[in-house]
Subunit: 459 residues, 4 copies
Amino acid sequence: MEYDEKRCDDIQICYIGGGSQGWAWKLMSDLYLEEAISGTIRLYDIDMEAARANEAIGNRLFAYEGAKSKWNFITASSLAEGLTGADFVIISILPAGFEEMRSDVHEPEAYGIWQSVGDTVGPGGIFRALRTIPMYEVIASAVKTYCPKAWVINYTNPMSVCTGALYRIFPGIKAFGCCHEVFGAQRLLLMAIREELGIEEDDRHKLRTNVAGINHFTWITEASYQKMDLFPIYARFVEKHYKEGICDKVTDFHFMSQNKVKFDLFRRYGVIAAAGDRHLAEFVPEYLKNPETVETWGYALTPVDYRIDNKRELNEKSRAYASGEMPIPIEPSGEEGVAQMKALLGLGEIVTNVNLPNKGQLEAPHEIVVETNALFSRDSVKPVMAGALPDSVKLLMGRHMQNQEMILKAALERDTQLAFGAFLNDPITARLNLKQAKELFSRMFENTRQYLPDYESIR
Amino acid sequence: MEYDEKRCDDIQICYIGGGSQGWAWKLMSDLYLEEAISGTIRLYDIDMEAARANEAIGNRLFAYEGAKSKWNFITASSLAEGLTGADFVIISILPAGFEEMRSDVHEPEAYGIWQSVGDTVGPGGIFRALRTIPMYEVIASAVKTYCPKAWVINYTNPMSVCTGALYRIFPGIKAFGCCHEVFGAQRLLLMAIREELGIEEDDRHKLRTNVAGINHFTWITEASYQKMDLFPIYARFVEKHYKEGICDKVTDFHFMSQNKVKFDLFRRYGVIAAAGDRHLAEFVPEYLKNPETVETWGYALTPVDYRIDNKRELNEKSRAYASGEMPIPIEPSGEEGVAQMKALLGLGEIVTNVNLPNKGQLEAPHEIVVETNALFSRDSVKPVMAGALPDSVKLLMGRHMQNQEMILKAALERDTQLAFGAFLNDPITARLNLKQAKELFSRMFENTRQYLPDYESIR
Amino acid sequence: MEYDEKRCDDIQICYIGGGSQGWAWKLMSDLYLEEAISGTIRLYDIDMEAARANEAIGNRLFAYEGAKSKWNFITASSLAEGLTGADFVIISILPAGFEEMRSDVHEPEAYGIWQSVGDTVGPGGIFRALRTIPMYEVIASAVKTYCPKAWVINYTNPMSVCTGALYRIFPGIKAFGCCHEVFGAQRLLLMAIREELGIEEDDRHKLRTNVAGINHFTWITEASYQKMDLFPIYARFVEKHYKEGICDKVTDFHFMSQNKVKFDLFRRYGVIAAAGDRHLAEFVPEYLKNPETVETWGYALTPVDYRIDNKRELNEKSRAYASGEMPIPIEPSGEEGVAQMKALLGLGEIVTNVNLPNKGQLEAPHEIVVETNALFSRDSVKPVMAGALPDSVKLLMGRHMQNQEMILKAALERDTQLAFGAFLNDPITARLNLKQAKELFSRMFENTRQYLPDYESIR
Amino acid sequence: MEYDEKRCDDIQICYIGGGSQGWAWKLMSDLYLEEAISGTIRLYDIDMEAARANEAIGNRLFAYEGAKSKWNFITASSLAEGLTGADFVIISILPAGFEEMRSDVHEPEAYGIWQSVGDTVGPGGIFRALRTIPMYEVIASAVKTYCPKAWVINYTNPMSVCTGALYRIFPGIKAFGCCHEVFGAQRLLLMAIREELGIEEDDRHKLRTNVAGINHFTWITEASYQKMDLFPIYARFVEKHYKEGICDKVTDFHFMSQNKVKFDLFRRYGVIAAAGDRHLAEFVPEYLKNPETVETWGYALTPVDYRIDNKRELNEKSRAYASGEMPIPIEPSGEEGVAQMKALLGLGEIVTNVNLPNKGQLEAPHEIVVETNALFSRDSVKPVMAGALPDSVKLLMGRHMQNQEMILKAALERDTQLAFGAFLNDPITARLNLKQAKELFSRMFENTRQYLPDYESIR
């Protein structure tokens, strides 16, 4: 090998869920624009056809002469094939199909329980965890067998318990979880800088933010830009937009948020909630009593039918990209995956927020997966100590942390009874009496039973 | 001093809340029947007249020749006078009056929130804590000044946070909290022994029970009688009485419980809830949705009007006892206070359940006040390690532990905002939306404002 | 089964090291005098002949009509046979023979390192641990397989790490370690009571002592008798005997101690060291510089030759007992084993000191095996919280705790290098330079290599 | 104020020990070369004349036109005057004079105890701590009163306990401790890169090193340069120079080290010791038995007479600089102080190693001051989690950590007895018997008694 301090070639990436559309295409686009690394991406998916479509899309894309690097895409026919020799493993899977997701999100509505996303906490998050964790057990064991030294990047939700499952099964794993929700809060900070100071900064990497919390209920407790503390600036911005809200990006209606929940949380606790309002409200369901409350707070519930329509369009695009009818659009995704891989290869140190088992970086029980900043350098991810959160925020978060620990344990031990305990302890189910709760849990269990073969029904 | 290994004389007890009727009279009765100790009881009460009444009652009682020991009762006109030279301090106070209690218990009813007792958790427990803890600060400081080596026995609710406050203000204090709720569960075990085995045991001290939890949400995780494990025996007893319930003692209707909540919790978690159903339901409010649910589960809500009537009767009795019209009834109270004091004096070792800051006796955050067994011997109370609770129980308890820590902190720092955080985190307020919650909190704050002079209103 | 609350019959005890002479005979004698329990003792020993001798001795003994209970002794030909169906397992083994012990105790003398016992800490204790722990792995696995619910009582040294090994291999084991060294300190307290107060108490169970520490470096931090604090009484006793010392029992010269080390430690730290001086000095080797220092402090070094002679005599006795030439002497051993078993069977609750993994009973790292009081009741051993030790004692103890953790880890992982780290960290080897230390370690390793087959030599 | 993102003006620095020569001049030189910041330095020293000399030197220096920024030096006549309004506080004091240092370093030699530096651990470090910590109490209180929001940078030894004392007295303090010893190990890594790879890198900031440990006993557990793991490269370098050693910088003989101790520790433990051999040997005194051992290991003992001579020269220089006879030499000091201050002002983020109370960044007891990397950004220092150290290193370090905790406690409580406990627990005093240890401790106590007015003699 010719040593070149500025680049790494022949990198082997195994992409589990390699038939994924959104995430896989973003990765392709980011790699297309990055000249420092090259190699092979092995796409593994239980839907092998989807993987093959991405193989075609990827290889066609990197045949363009504009590509700044050379990547080869192949479809792996087994986990073993995908993982053996991998330097990086990306996991981005959809556990089960839309019917299961429909049960997660909409079944509780009959009991007056509304969920804006349904993939993290609440009834939806719990059932999604119960069926995903067994899959993660398989993945973690395979990583241990085939590529124990690879870095594993998880994108699947529920983030905390999925990432946690990897470590429980293979404690020596080098895994972390990535989520872009914090970036939205950083975009808001850039908007505040523009509005309040008239400075046209649009690179969120120029901000310094201290991140503390759990995924989708993450907080920025310190923020600065150059020599300035951004908290007073953000406070003015919040007051100005408190009533009407303000969007930080263009989205479809069903993903819409005007950040009013975020602004209210800032008023209440003095720290910056750093996830979309649709996620935040699921942790603090006073904002999510019913569709009217949701409307008042200016965000949207995302129906599964919308996701199905969306998927149909994506399938169309996939066909068009794979066949060459349409070029895949190239634009920076805003994700950090490629930057993280570069840092891990020794191509520059970065600090960014990731999900890792707590070893003390957050004042919270150890081993629970938390989201804080971490220092990435060659073959090393070291969390940065996150400092304290306000007591009232700890109070809100403590319950969810406890729940996540128990959900993970319930899934690993296939203990349906304990899962039901977590279900009852979620703030969103508090409106149910015991009989209703049992009924709803049982219905959701039956709806998705196909993916829960090792679990017993609740007593 | 003539050494007599079997007795201790000249003991000085300071009784704070010395005008108390129920508790003070029970103590008198127990001392009357106990020959090993004698001395002086200094009654201190902000209602000095009530203290004087007890002075009269006590001195009249111990003038009877049937008294097995000699106790002298005096009224102390200040904490300083009461505490100086005290060997023991008993605290049993009623923080504020019935109007405040009415606010604690009944104000939330307008918002669909029912409380069976209202003195431990929930809106009632929180407000009771907010006004009691400042009083406990005064007491702890006075103990530090006037009798730092005295043993302090707390009977006031909310037990956990009141006992905790003593330690936060004076970390060197030798205090513990006592509650008789566990004894009720032990009585049920005796009933089970009788029914299932035909053994007529009526001394609960013959049982061996391992106690673990927090006050009023305490659990028996192991129980034996002679060579027998009582769990299978209790399980049969529970199944037999699950539907109809069974009372473990004669009470007025408003204190009634048929133990159906306790039996249901046993079915759910496999361990024995060891407090009255009226208390238990406040921790797991699926049992306390509304008066109908309460009726279904076979226990009673205790209205404050009933307490007022009751108080009127007690006042009558007090007059009659003090004047000598009526003799005070002498019967063992079933409480452990006298036995504990004897053990602390070196007159025999005992093991019993008490409330103490967690130093590791329970798998739970340190410093939170927990209830476990402890070994009492001469000038020494050492908690017994309680072992593990089932995960589902930990989950239920964890939230209340966190809340109690925050309530204590909120009270010590007069932080109304944090108190409101705890209020929102209580499972019983989960049905409220944010606006309603704020409104209820504010009303309860205004109702009892006279006792909350140092706290600001919430924002 | 006919229920008799006062007795338990058909108890199955497996005695590993069943050819033992001292301990096994003591147990026989104690059982002979105890009427509440009866059953079978299965003697397992790698020296099966020794086990058979004890079988003969035991059966002959219980044929006497004076026996208060009936016990049957049989020799088990395998661990499986001995353990299957056992209610209790006693472990009291001699790891390897006298030549290995000679290496443990005497090899270091060439380097100016003297050890009074050589079985707990220091070079001798470390090597004894390295060869014993692999045997304990076998035992713990067998218990897990054949009698996972049995109570396991360990008497083998080094106590802390042997007991710890059982839990590391089978975390669900119900094991504790017993040692009588604390009883000696209690005898001294009885002597103090006699001398200072003129009270003729000779039952150490009447004392209340709080025990805290690690085996053979255990401390009594509170002691009372009836209503009296024994600390001022002991302090006077110490001052009176500080210079000349005083023996608490009759022993052979080579086991002799005049308690002068114990008295000096009391002067220095204000708490009562509760092990024989021969053990204590090995933890604080300022008392063990050389034979002259030892003489000054009034205790003896125990040579292995003396043990060999002693063993010869025991063999003689064994023959005589087994053949019936001589009757086995019957007297209470003063050990607690039988009382502990009775309590575990539900025949009366006791509090006594035992060795258990730290779960918080001592302010020290968790999982290290510590010695504190525990409450024994039916099928339950719950440690009593031990409270704090003086800082200076913590400092002395901390180093040994750390070492024991590392020795256990080194043995479980067969990590000779780490064992050498512990060897260097022991206070007694501090006088060596690195070259000498390596040399001594290597010689001891070679001497006992036969029992260290899985370990590599040090680098 | 005109906003300039690239600079900060009017910064107020209070320099306690402002008459210092080495450190103060280095700071002047670094500021001279730095254009981004300017302001005032208030020199406070109990030797006010020395402060005035530095005032003259500083003001003369910044009058040169080559100065890249403008700094004004003034002498503060009191702590209050120096601290009021300060943005930064630098502490670099010499506790007591050379006679006390002579006692620290040389008195133990009569007992066969040699110390190469004598300011960190061992008899010298302990006595230095005992007399410095009371001064630090005064400083911490003054910071709390006069500039509670200032950042405090400590340079005084013993680093760990001095920094710890600041936090014990004023828990809200924003302090950290800085030491350049790690930089030496980084220089060695650069040498290895040059020798092994032929790459001429001379900027240690290009290395990525993970730092873990306690001051002067710090370790590099991961090191990389660009895409390369430096551990195999360093291993080859160590083997090549193991026998002869190699110096990483030019020094006077009395500060000399050939890194042979460092190389040997690498062989033994596989991680890079990151302090000078003179410091390391004091933690592992097998390398410091006597002057011959020291010579073998290729480093020097630093006699106090040499420091006295050195001081004389510095006084000469001081006069010459102050009078303008000689220009103060301008060269980058290699220290990080100025870079740290810039980062804290918001002028660029850096990662560097500092000393802070452990909140979980190291697997070690909390609150002990540890040295790890930290992320510096605007008004924020957040430790980076350091990961695990090898068990054998933990074993060595554990004892010193425990000792430092006790020394700090002993000093804060003026508990000479506990200090003596730490003295005995230091590995370097292990060769003494109790009588000798007491004698040496007493002599050192008497020698420096003037600075220990609140401490009692040992018993």
